[in-house]
């Protein structure tokens, strides 16, 4: 099953990945990382198709994808 992984300390909560994901796998969460950013969280892991669109758009290279 395809899988997406967020390095939350790299995430700056820009949400470009959220917009890019066609399957609505990701969302900006409430929690704050050490740098003070509300980072992204995987809310629908099951529907991830491993298409890498999120990762392509992540300016902070915070996303890894398996397929």
């Amino acid at each position: 099953m395809p899988k997406v992984e967020i390095e939350k300390e790299r995430c700056k909560g820009c949400a470009l990945c959220v917009d890019a994901c066609p399957e609505h796998v990701l969302e900006i969460g409430k929690a704050i990382n050490l740098s003070g950013y509300q980072h992204v969280v995987v809310v629908n892991p099951d529907v991830c198709v491993g298409c890498c669109r999120c990762a392509e758009m992540c300016p902070d290279v915070a996303i890894a994808v398996w397929r």
Binding site: K3, E9, D19, A20, E56, D60, V61, A64
Partner: protein
Amino acid sequence: MKQVFKRPEAMTDKPFHFCPGCHHGIVHRLVAEALDHFAVREKTVGVASVGCSVFLYDYFAGEVIEAPHGRASAVAAGTKRVLKDHVVFTYQGDGDLAAIGTAEVIHAANRGDNITVIFVNNGIYGMTGGQMAPTTLLGQRSTTSPYGRDCHRDGYPIKMTEMLAALEGPSLVSRVAVNTPGNVKKARKVIRQAFQMQIEGKGFSFVEVLSTCPTNWGMTPQAANDRIAEEMIPYFPLGTLKQKDIVDVL
């Protein structure tokens, strides 16, 4: 299960200092991927310009020379004339390349210096806090065009890609964007082609990347990203304007 997307090896572990949503990060990654692709990190020299990308040496896992503002193309030309078998690239912003560095990039291009220039056009002076760049769009407000860029006073946003394509020297002159996953993929391909041109000794290759500066555009990362398609691409059309023959192995 196989990892289909990971951090490129030509990048260090260091987190970027860029603002949230800034496209500089994507462009950095694409450059690193191209160097991985050709496995040339250890024989590559990057030339950092002065702008938000000045810390290139912190992120690129190869050697880097800092150039004075605007002079990266001249510095790279000097390096490449010595290290002829190395890969030498510059990474320059629009203030750096299209304003103060105009003469240096045009003459490197015209000489056909065998280097690759990555030109990150975000239509603003990011590092210094949002002044008008030569590529700022008409009507766009910036700290030095507080009433909007006025073509009568400030002229039109300059099209470096079109201008360089008018020269004999360059092997590749192209404009890309990284505002959608599809465009990122196209940009990846063009950036690779640019390095391939250099590796094959075909001379100066140039890729303009339309890019966001959410901070100085005064926009959310998402709105800034959308503005690329809505305002930037219509004025700065994407595409390859000039390309010498290349075996397309990409």
